[in-house]
Amino acid sequence: MKGIVLTEFLELVETKFGLEVVDKIISASKLESEGIYTSVGTYEFSEMLQLLQHLSAHTKISIDALLLVYAEHFFSVIESSYPGLLAIYKDPIEMISSIENHIHVEVRKIYPDAELPTFEVIEKTENSLIMIYKSSRAMHHFGLGLMNKTFEYFNSTAVIDLEKIKEDGTEVKFSITKNK
């Protein structure tokens, strides 16, 4: 897992719940890194998972809901750090459908060893998109949050349905319909 995901996560936890909660979830987790993260480093995904689990336990908020909020925060990180990446798109459907062919290519330029999920486009029209998300991390709600923010960024909204193809969430179908 790329360090930026962890550093931004802890940043958000600190903002929302305070440094105390950050300290608590780090202390409660068994971390090889001892909670020392830098955005350019690479860490075990299990560390992210432990932090999420402990945060969920502490706040009584589900992991999926936490991920959704985190993704919305993360979108603003992208927006401020890599504005060029977003500037070339005029339409949310266009942008989301090109995750695999463009955005991930750009990500690899900065983080060559990033382990990225795949988004396979099944069907695409002007106002709708069906994609299959595949990742061993099962972070589909992180994807969902980013998609929500994408529509928001282009001043539009959409209905996004998630359908788990695999029970553990490692394969999920996204059905996106843009609101007119």
Binding site: V22, I26, S27, I36, Y37, T38, V40
Partner: protein, 404 residues
């Protein structure tokens, strides 16, 4: 509570410090990586530059040292580059004047060249193209061109290069040769016709003499004594021999190769047929020891060849039981035949002479000395050899080869 907060802050600070150090270490690693990569790139760049320099020098060497004229032109036929031999062949120098392909070629060839040039551009190369050109000093030359297209890195045609060879002389020599051959053929025909006429003209006075002699004999029956009658006999047999001689000369002069009559000839059948034609005395046996091959050529020539050799073997046999053996052995590119007899044999000193015309060693009544000359001539026509082995008094073996 304060103590607890202090602990939290200290731990947070420790993490921040740790993160900074970790980041610094990662970035250090990255910068080392970049440095190494840059070094590698520099090295391979240097290698590439060296390679380009080498290849350019090689090409320049080829360009300058090539013996044939070498010309590079753009796709519209404008000469961009030419080497020393090209300058001396064409008389033009592209460094001093603009030259175009179509000003070089002879007016009569422009259409042909246009076609070939577009073929060159479409197909990428042309070979063996012959065209008349005019040099700067207005000499017409016939040149032979092999050309190909030069492509850029996107496989787009950008220029054409060609090797130009002056074949004016070669072509002239070829034409001369053709003319000579034609002339030779004509004079050969004339010679044959001449031989025909001469022999015909020679034969008619002979028949007159023959007739006159027989009249003389008839008119004077009972008047000539025995001695004179014997001399008349001699005159008659001399006349017969003379006629035979003339016929053989005619035969010899007409031995030439007729390609149209060539076919596969089974020599076994030739020999069988010959046995019926030639008179074979009962005391002479002819044995064919091995199966003879099928050879490609004119049947009548092969017949003449064997007829003469077998005929000689019969003619010059003085033994009580004559034996003629015909044999063959197959070699890589030819067949080697032998015709062996147990006849009179030929003295060593005559071995070379016998194949020359009119060289009869024997005063045999049907021998003109032309037979072996015809044999030699036929074998020459089939790129073969003939030679003899002979034990004087015991027999002769003729060996000859025929190319497969």
């Amino acid at each position: 509570m304060n103590q607890q907060l202090e602990g939290i802050l200290l731990r947070a600070l420790k993490r921040e410090k740790g993160a900074r150090k970790a980041a610094e270490k990662i970035l250090e690693g990255k910068s080392t990586e970049f440095y190494d990569l840059t070094q590698k790139l520099k090295k391979s760049n240097f290698k590439l530059e060296k390679l380009i320099a080498e290849k350019s020098s090689e090409l320049r060497g080829v360009f300058e040292n090539i013996v044939d004229a070498y010309v590079v032109m753009d796709l519209r036929g404008n000469v961009i580059k030419m080497n020393e031999p090209a300058t001396s062949l064409l008389g033009y120098d592209n460094n001093q004047e603009n030259i175009n392909l179509f000003t070089l070629v002879d007016v009569s060839e422009v259409e042909k060249v246009k076609k070939s040039y577009s073929k060159l551009i479409n197909n990428g190369s042309i070979t063996n193209f012959q065209v008349k050109i005019n040099t700067k000093s207005n000499d017409q030359k016939l040149v032979h061109i092999n050309a190909s297209i030069i492509y850029d890195e996107n496989h787009k045609a950008i220029a054409a290069q060609g090797i130009v060879r002056d074949i004016t002389e070669i072509k002239n020599l070829e034409l001369q040769k053709e003319k000579l051959l034609l002339k030779l053929g004509k004079s050969n025909d004339e010679l044959q016709e001449y031989a025909h006429i001469v022999s015909h003209d020679l034969k008619s006075p002979l028949s007159s003499i023959y007739a006159l002699v027989s009249w003389l004999k008839e008119d004077n029956i009972g008047k000539f004594d025995k001695n004179s009658l014997q001399n008349f006999g001699h005159i008659e047999s001399t006349l017969e021999k003379m006629e035979l001689l003339i016929s053989d000369v005619l035969l010899y002069s007409s031995v030439s190769l007729d390609e149209s009559k060539k076919l596969n000839v089974d020599l076994n059948i030739v020999i069988e047929d010959l046995k019926k034609i030639i008179f074979i005395p009962s005391h002479i046996k002819i044995n064919v020891k091995n199966k003879l091959p099928v050879v490609f050529g004119e049947r009548t020539k092969f017949q003449q060849l064997f007829q003469n050799l077998i005929g000689n073997a019969i003619k010059f046999n003085n033994k009580k039981n004559g034996l003629i053996e015909i044999d063959v052995s197959e070699k890589k590119s030819f067949y080697q035949f032998s015709i062996k007899d147990n006849g009179v044999g030929i003295e060593k000193k005559y071995h070379d002479k016998i194949f020359k015309i009119f060289h009869s060693l024997n005063d045999h009544k049907d021998s003109t000395g032309i037979g072996l000359s015809i044999v030699k001539k036929i074998i020459d026509l089939y790129n073969g050899n003939i030679w003899i082995e002979s034990d004087y008094g015991k027999g002769t073996t003729f060996h000859f080869t025929l190319k497969k």
